[in-house]
Structures are given as C-alpha cells and as structure tokens.
Amino acid sequence: MSRKLAALLSLSLRGNTVDEPRQRPDPGLDDRPPGMPRWVKVMAIVAVVVAVLVVVALLIGGEHSPARHFSGSYGRYRWRR
C-alpha cells in the first residue's frame, strides 16, 4: 500500500475536515482561532496593491477631480451645480 493511499484512508476515517469543518468529531480540537484563509490574503494583497497604485497616481497626477477625467482644458466649466 502506498503512502498516498494510506494517507487518503486515514483522512477518510477521520472525516473530511476540509469539506465538512462543522462536522468535526471533537469540538474541543479547535481551541485556537482559525487563521486567515488564503483567498482572503490574496484579495487583501490585491486591494493593497490597487490602493498603492491609486495613491501613486494621485501623487503624480494631482487631485482626482472630475476635471481629471477630461483630456483638454476645462477651466471654464463649473463642476458643481
């Protein structure tokens, strides 16, 4: 019997805790708070990178006002009605 098969059998005997975390046999096992899932970390990194890019763009390009969204000179237009 290969190690992989033994590991799979062992996992199935203990219960699939990956797919069914609410059906753990012993609730006392989770005495420590769970860590942050990988997908949350990935999304947080993406959000931070986007935020940094926006801040850099603001520092380089100036204020992010409506006038910034136009290519020409729009000083004569009033942006707030």
Partner: protein, 176 residues
C-alpha cells in the same frame, strides 16, 4: 428571521444586485456608443443621460443591494462579521456604493460639457465612465462569485461565537 421574510429579503437582494450589474454593463455600452458613433447628437445624448440615470437607477440599486445584504446577513445564522466571505462582500458593496456616489460629480461634469454647444465633440467623448464601469463590474462580479461559492473561513469573532454556541449546546446534548 422567519423563512418568509428571509426569502423576500433574499429575492430583493439578488434582484437589486443582478440589476446593478446589468446597469453597469448598460453604462459600459453607452460609453462604447459615445466613443464610436459619428453622430454628434448621440454623443452628447450619451453623456447627458448618464447623470440622471446614475441617480435614478445605478445608485438606488447599489443602496438597495447594500441594505438588503446587511439585513440578510444579520437575519440569518451567517451573521455580518462571522465569515470572511460575508465581510468581504460587505466591504466591496460599501466601497462600490461610496465610490459611485463620489463619481456622480464626474457624471455631472460630463453632462455640463455635453450640454455646451460650443464644446467640441472630441471634448465631449470621454472614456472615464467606461474604465470605472469595468472596474465596478469586476467588483460586483467578485461579490457575486463570493455569494455563490461561499468560501470557507471564520473570522476570530465568528470563531468565538461558534465556540460559545457549542459550549451552550453541549450540556443539553451530552447523555446522562
């Protein structure tokens, strides 16, 4: 929350969220039309119609989606702060709604330019709502994916709540 009101709230939440996505796609379509059509009246019309449509369609759908999402979370066992996917969805929806509210200034600015008969057509054409629309669509679609897949992950608060519930339930379920 009782099953009846819960399903009503869920229906309103799904309808408003899907409607919001559709409205964003419609805005992207409008921008594509505004950037490509040779007809001057159509170009000006595209940028004139965006501001009132944002106030009457986009923003109400966003606010309803946000409110019904909070109601849905608080009224069910999912909770608002217990699961990372619910928390992430809340952050995405709140951010997108706030950003949309700020962006209405840009819609107003574009309408002012479009209404000016002296403004050149190339001045009126503006890709900004298209770029922001694509980013908004990505955010809303991410929230949709989170709702459907509900990826695992308890927050520390959710873990504490779950542990307290188990501790309360244990004496009643143990034999003897």
């Amino acid at each position: 929350m009782a099953p009846g009101p819960r399903k009503v709230a869920l229906t309103i939440h799904v309808a408003s969220s899907v409607g919001w996505s559709g409205a964003i796609v419609a805005f992207i379509g409008l921008v594509l039309l505004g950037l490509t059509t040779p007809d001057a009246a159509t170009v000006r019309g595209v940028y004139l119609v965006m501001e009132p449509t944002a106030w009457t369609v986009l923003l109400p759908l966003a606010v309803v989606s946000l409110i019904t999402g909070i109601v849905q979370a608080l009224g069910t066992t999912w909770g608002l702060l217990r699961h990372y996917w619910v928390l992430t969805k809340l952050a995405i929806t709140a951010f997108a709604t706030a950003f949309l509210l700020i962006y209405t200034k840009t819609f107003a600015a574009m309408a002012v330019v479009a209404a000016d008969p002296d403004a050149a057509l190339e001045t009126v054409r503006n890709p900004s709502p298209g770029v922001h629309g694509i980013l908004a669509l990505l955010l809303v679609l991410t929230a949709t994916v989170l709702s459907i897949f509900k990826p695992r992950g308890l927050t520390r608060y959710g873990w504490r709540q779950q542990r307290e519930q188990r501790q309360r339930a244990r004496p009643a379920t143990q034999p003897g």
